[in-house]
């Protein structure tokens, strides 16, 4: 009888046979060489090159392949990467970088100033028309001083030059590859990073393998033999994969699953602040939104805390500026506490005591809980007497609609999320808030125009002293928040789940994960 019981238990609970391996605890402290890391992404990767728009997931892959001259750490300091030292001329117009020696590209040739000149030249070359090149337009020319010394000249003193050069798209590509592939370089990424590109199945997966000759291999990684990034569109399937042990890292978790995954003993869940701010953009040239009191009323009418608790299930933080706290220059302006009574008052002061109708456009599935956020805001605005219609538009058409020039643009309110690629406020100032960036010349889709703001933006981009610059951008944020071209909603949190066997995964505010220090247990 005892034997039967034993067999019965064994059949029902095969786990009984898995005795604890005592060496496992020891193994955790030292990175293990080898193994395969499997990432499950929610979107397909469309290219692995610099200058073209992409989903943040692609940034993670590119970071493993390419490196920049300098890199930014989590505290916001700029550290040497491919450049071992640098200095800037007293007039602020010339930056000289000394490159590391003995760094090799995946194609074998050594890194030199030629590659730097070729990489930036390509970004700024009008014949490639790279949509993101405007961030590097501050560069007027690049000179080769000698093999390991390169000079980057700017037209005007650029306060956020280092952030721009640490931007993932300012990575150094191989000159040989650029010359060889030209415009077809999308799937021929040749960089200096710890992993090199092995191959891809379009729309399905990308495979990287260890680069044996990585120049920093004595200090840190790469530890992994191979990394496979698979595109798994369905959120629930990705979650199932990490729980079943078929995927090691899964990003962009659905909020509904965060709590459940946190309870899974095989999985680590992490939540990191993103630099992306969700907001409702307001067409500042269209009545009644051209009255600042109306725009402020909209801000007072939204209860950010309930929005985050209800729609995002707590995964997010209220926004009190147009950038997130992790972006350099952040200065919170706590002007809009939830106050529907004040909203109604402002509306009637502006002459709209009876309210008005408006349309709120939103994409669906582009941002986390985007449509749900719009619907929640619609409801909150109705509480102060505004009749708002939500219009769900597919992403491609949505973009076209927002960037239509003013005279044919009928947008009133729209949901969007801006992240700051360089980690510095200068990026979004130029791209969104200056009146020179009205579509089609930029992304000022609110058609916002404030001379004081324009002047301040122009001034701050040239202030080299950090303290003075911070004062100026703080003033800028006070001005813009008070002017309310946006309904400031919340700062996104990036969520990811990883198997307990994965160590060393870090997250950057640009919504990219760093893999160079990752190792996996057996």
């Amino acid at each position: 009888m005892k034997l039967w019981k034993f067999l019965f238990v064994l059949i029902l609970f095969p786990g009984v046979l898995m005795l604890d391996d005592p060496s496992a605890a020891l193994a955790q402290s030292k990175p293990r060489q080898g193994g395969v890391l499997r990432f499950a992404l929610g979107v397909p990767i469309t290219h692995l090159t610099m200058g073209k728009s992409e989903a943040s997931d692609a940034g993670t892959i590119k970071r493993a392949i390419f490196e920049t001259l300098i890199e930014r750490d989590m505290q916001g300091n700029y550290l040497p990467s491919l450049a071992k030292s640098w200095n800037v001329s007293p007039n602020g117009l010339t930056w000289t970088f000394k490159l590391q020696e003995g760094v090799t590209f995946h194609d074998g040739h050594e890194l030199s100033a030629e590659d730097v000149k070729a990489s930036y030249g390509r970004m700024l070359d009008p014949k490639y028309e790279l949509p993101l090149s405007r961030v590097l337009k501050v560069i007027s020319s690049v000179d080769i001083v000698d093999k390991y010394t390169v000079r980057i000249n700017t037209g005007k003193p650029t306060a956020d030059m280092l952030p721009r050069l640490s931007w993932s798209h300012a990575a150094i590509m191989s000159k040989l590859a650029i010359d060889k592939w030209g415009a077809d370089i999308d799937w021929h990424p040749v960089g200096t990073g710890p992993y090199r590109f092995e191959g891809h199945v379009p729309g399905e997966s990308v495979t990287l393998v260890r680069y044996e000759k990585y120049w920093r291999r004595d200090q840190k990684g790469p530890y992994l033999d191979k990394i496979v990034f698979s595109t798994i569109r369905e959120d629930a399937t990705r979650v199932a994969m990490v729980q079943a042990g078929e995927a090691d890292v899964v990003v962009n978790l659905p909020t509904a699953d965060v709590a459940r995954l946190s309870r899974d003993p095989n999985v680590n869940v992490r939540s990191d602040p993103s630099s992306r701010v969700a907001h409702i953009g307001i067409n500042c040239q269209k009545a009644p939104f051209n009255d600042v009191r109306v725009r402020q009323a909209l801000n007072y009418a939204v209860d950010k805390k309930s929005l985050i608790a209800g729609v995002l299930r707590g995964v997010g933080k209220p926004s009190n500026s147009f950038i997130s706290p992790i972006v350099w220059g952040y200065h919170g302006v706590d002007q809009y506490e939830y106050d529907p009574a004040k909203a109604k008052r402002l509306l009637s002061e502006a002459g709209y005591s009876k309210g008005f109708t408006a349309t709120l456009a939103t994409p669906q599935g582009r941002y986390f809980a985007d449509k749900e956020t719009a619907v929640a805001v619609q409801d909150m605005l109705s509480q102060v007497g505004l009749d708002v219609k939500v219009s769900v538009i597919d992403w491609a058409t949505y973009i076209k609609k927002l960037t239509t020039p003013l005279d044919s643009n009928d947008t009133e309110l729209y949901l969007l999320g801006w992240e700051v690629g360089t980690g510095d406020i200068g990026y979004i100032n130029d791209l969104v808030f200056t009146s020179a960036a009205w579509p089609p010349n930029g992304w000022n889709t609110m058609f916002y125009k404030n001379k004081a703001v324009d002047d301040l933006i122009a001034r701050t981009s040239n202030i080299m002293d950090n303290k003075k610059r911070y004062e100026a951008v703080s003033e800028l944020q006070r001005l813009v928040v008070n002017d309310a071209p946006w309904i400031f909603l919340f700062v996104y949190q990036m969520t990811a789940a990883s198997s307990k066997k994965v160590h060393g995964l870090e997250f950057l505010p640009t919504e990219v994960y760093t893999i160079e220090n990752v190792w996996v247990e057996k």
Binding site: E129, P131, R233, T237, A240, M241, E246, I399, K400
Partner: protein
């Protein structure tokens, strides 16, 4: 077969062939033109936000968007017939490469699903028809209704959750063997079981009531022989029709199953291309899928004459 029969059969096949060609041409016109009924400037949408005027114009020129419809259509048709299926507007990859392995994957999936559905559908239908009006009859019919009522999506996720996550018996995604095919095949096949079961049951009941069945029993044929050799064979025509139609449905419904299981097939490619506005791919895919469906049904058509010799090659 006599010479006359052979000639008649040949003529029948020729007629069917030309009928198929006509249908394919019609399908190609419809596939080609449907994509142009979407809102937004096609070239701008494909080029993407923030793209330069030149990039947009390049796309406009490449897809001949400025030329009249019939010119665009004939250019397109000509390149297809010469083997060039064009390039994806998004990834610039040759469409033949994009579709090649995916089509085979979907065929694998649809084939496995149909096999699963045929086996269980006919089995349940047979059982129900033999034990008419018994618990078994109502039970099997209820089971099949369950299969058709549950959304494919939900079935797939539930199967994953139970068998892959909790029990870890089967994998969630991936290809490479029967193990990876089991859950997706069940997901996609479950819906079809109900239809096949009901038609099997109805068709069998009709056949079982016929005189020749009584004769066969009286003759001394064993029960299995009666069911399979005499009854089922004659009941097959409506069943085969249903299976043919289901196959087409499966090729289309594969989208949901392929999405849930990350199965790299044409269903998912189709969905992705719709979202990304990859018009060149959509046109080819619609043509391919509609053509597959048409061909399957022609095959079903032809099979009737083998199942029932009374159907002459008219």
């Amino acid at each position: 077969m006599g010479l006359l029969m052979r000639v008649k059969m040949f003529a029948f096949l020729i007629r069917r062939f030309f009928g198929l060609v006509f249908v394919l041409i019609l399908i190609s016109v419809v596939s080609f033109s449907l994509v142009y009924f979407v809102p937004g400037d096609v070239a701008l949408v494909i080029a993407g936000p923030g793209s330069s005027k030149k990039a947009v114009e390049d796309i406009r020129a490449e897809l001949h968007l400025d030329k009249p419809f019939y010119v665009r259509y004939s250019l397109w048709l000509r390149s297809i017939l010469s083997g060039d299926l064009g390039r994806s507007a998004i990834t610039r990859e040759p469409i033949s490469q994009l579709i090649g392995f995916r089509y085979l994957n979907t065929l694998k999936l649809a084939g496995a699903g149909v096999t699963f559905a045929i086996f269980w559908g006919i089995f349940l239908g047979l059982v129900a028809s033999i034990k008419r009006n018994s618990i078994l009859d109502y039970g099997t019919m209820a089971l099949s209704i369950f299969g058709i009522s549950m959304p494919i999506f939900w079935i797939g996720l539930m199967l994953i959750f139970i068998f892959a996550v909790q029990l870890r018996w089967l994998p969630v995604t991936g290809q490479g063997g029967i193990r990876h095919l089991i859950l997706p095949a069940i997901t996609i096949g479950l819906n079809s079981i109900a239809l096949i079961a009901r038609i099997t049951r109805a068709s069998m009941l009709e056949v079982l009531g016929k005189d020749y069945i009584r004769t066969a029993r009286a003759k001394g044929c064993t029960f299995p022989m009666v069911i399979f050799k005499h009854a089922l064979k004659n009941a097959m025509i409506p069943i085969i029709t249903a299976i043919g139609l289901q196959f087409g449905y499966l090729m289309g419904g594969a989208v949901l199953t392929e999405t849930v299981f990350a199965w790299p097939g044409v269903g998912r490619l189709f969905a992705d291309s719709v979202f990304q506005r990859d018009f060149p791919v959509l046109q080819i895919l619609m043509l391919l899928l509609a053509a597959s469906f048409a061909i399957v049904n022609v095959l079903v058509d032809i099979s009737y004459s083998f199942l029932d010799p009374r159907i002459k090659y008219e």
